[in-house]
């Protein structure tokens, strides 16, 4: 840093931005690692079944698997269209 830098406006802290971005992506990727490999395909097939009966988009369905201690919970969340 030289004398000229003192006249510049406040420095941006890019390191804290890097940390924030990393925390988000690393948490996301760790979550995916724990998923069984069949989950994406199962999710797709569940969506197909629902689509046979109700007109929905793929993004209106979320499937998630939570592992807590000795109990696994498969959560299926479907947003049905308004009539």
């Amino acid at each position: 840093m030289s004398i000229f830098d003192y006249f510049r406006s406040s420095k941006s802290n890019t390191a804290s931005l890097a940390k924030e971005r990393l925390q988000v992506i690393v948490a996301h990727e760790r979550g995916q690692r724990k998923q069984p490999s069949y989950l994406p395909q199962m999710q797709q097939e569940i969506i197909e079944v629902i689509k046979k009966y109700v007109a929905i988009d793929s993004d209106q369905v979320t499937v998630s698997l939570d592992d807590s201690d000795d109990c696994s919970i498969l959560e299926l969340n479907v947003t049905l269209p308004e009539k």
């Binding site: 004398i3 420095k11 940390k19 990393l22 925390q23 992506i25 990727e29 760790r30």
Partner: protein, 270 residues
């Protein structure tokens, strides 16, 4: 019983081979019989960093294929009698490695060596998985930079799922974080992730912080592991890391920026 330590990172160019050479040499200097294996088949470089590139006759793959025995392929270091190098093949590719073959060689080495250092290739493919499969401990080499930290987390996931210890539900591979190319001044200026940031994200114990140093390039130019340069900051930081690997408690050094004088500040000198 020999201890197998893999030096890995996911990302390339972060200092795996430099670290393997330094840590292996450091263990040998402390009197432990150590062998460093280059797992980077097709892109061998450990020989250059160790300064024994002209003494390579047989390699890892020759031993795997029984074209040579282990003693013919092992290169004894000229500086230290406890230190040996097993070079990678330069003419083959990573498919030349088989799990059974690697296991046979490691078992044979374990009869005579205390420490077996496996210098992993970059990536998460077969070569890297082979290097970490039999590990008891892992040194995860990371730069304070987003892509390196993310890739380190990836390789930690692989250590926790695809190593022999993970597959057999044995005690997990012991993980150690080694931060390299650390620049305390840039951390102070808010331009670089700090040690605490990286430890926070990866959540594994820290074994060493190697400052960004001119000594590292000088060492590789000469084919002499940087730990032999006891006057350099990087050499001393690696030596501290070896102590911690051996279970000693050592304070971390080189984490603070050098205080600059008034004139230096004014002129913006580095």
């Amino acid at each position: 019983m020999a201890e197998i330590i893999v030096v890995t990172s996911g990302k390339g160019g972060v200092g795996k081979t430099t670290t393997s050479a330094a840590i292996g040499s450091g263990l040998a200097i402390r009197g432990h019989k150590t062998v460093i294996i280059d797992f980077d088949v097709g892109l061998r470089n450990l020989d250059l960093i160790m300064g024994c590139e002209r003494r390579v006759v047989y390699d890892f793959v020759n031993v795997l294929n029984k074209e040579a025995n282990l003693n013919q392929a092992l290169i004894k270091d000229k500086r230290n009698d406890n230190l040996f190098i097993l070079p990678a093949s330069q003419t083959r590719d990573k498919d030349a490695l088989t799990q059974e073959g690697v296991q046979t060689i490691l078992n044979e080495l374990a009869e005579t060596f205390e420490y077996i250092i496996c210098d992993s290739p970059a990536g998460i493919e077969k070569g890297a998985q082979m290097a970490l499969y039999y590990a008891d401990r892992a040194i995860v080499v990371t730069n304070p930079e987003v892509s390196s930290v993310r890739d380190s987390d990836r390789i930690l996931g692989i250590l926790q799922s695809k190593s022999l210890r993970a597959e057999t539900n044995a005690e997990p591979v012991k993980e150690h974080l080694l931060l390299t190319r650390y620049n305390p001044q840039r951390v102070e200026d808010g331009e670089m992730l700090s040690v605490a940031d990286v430890v926070d994200i990866l959540a594994i114990p820290l074994v060493g912080v190697i400052p960004e140093s001119e000594a590292v390039l000088k060492a590789s130019n000469q084919g002499e592991p940087v730990i032999f340069d006891g006057t350099s900051d990087a050499g001393q930081a690696y030596s501290d890391a070896v102590s911690r690997l051996l279970g000693e408690e050592v304070d971390f050094r080189f984490l603070e920026a050098e205080k600059k004088g008034f004139l230096k500040r004014l002129l913006g000198a580095k």
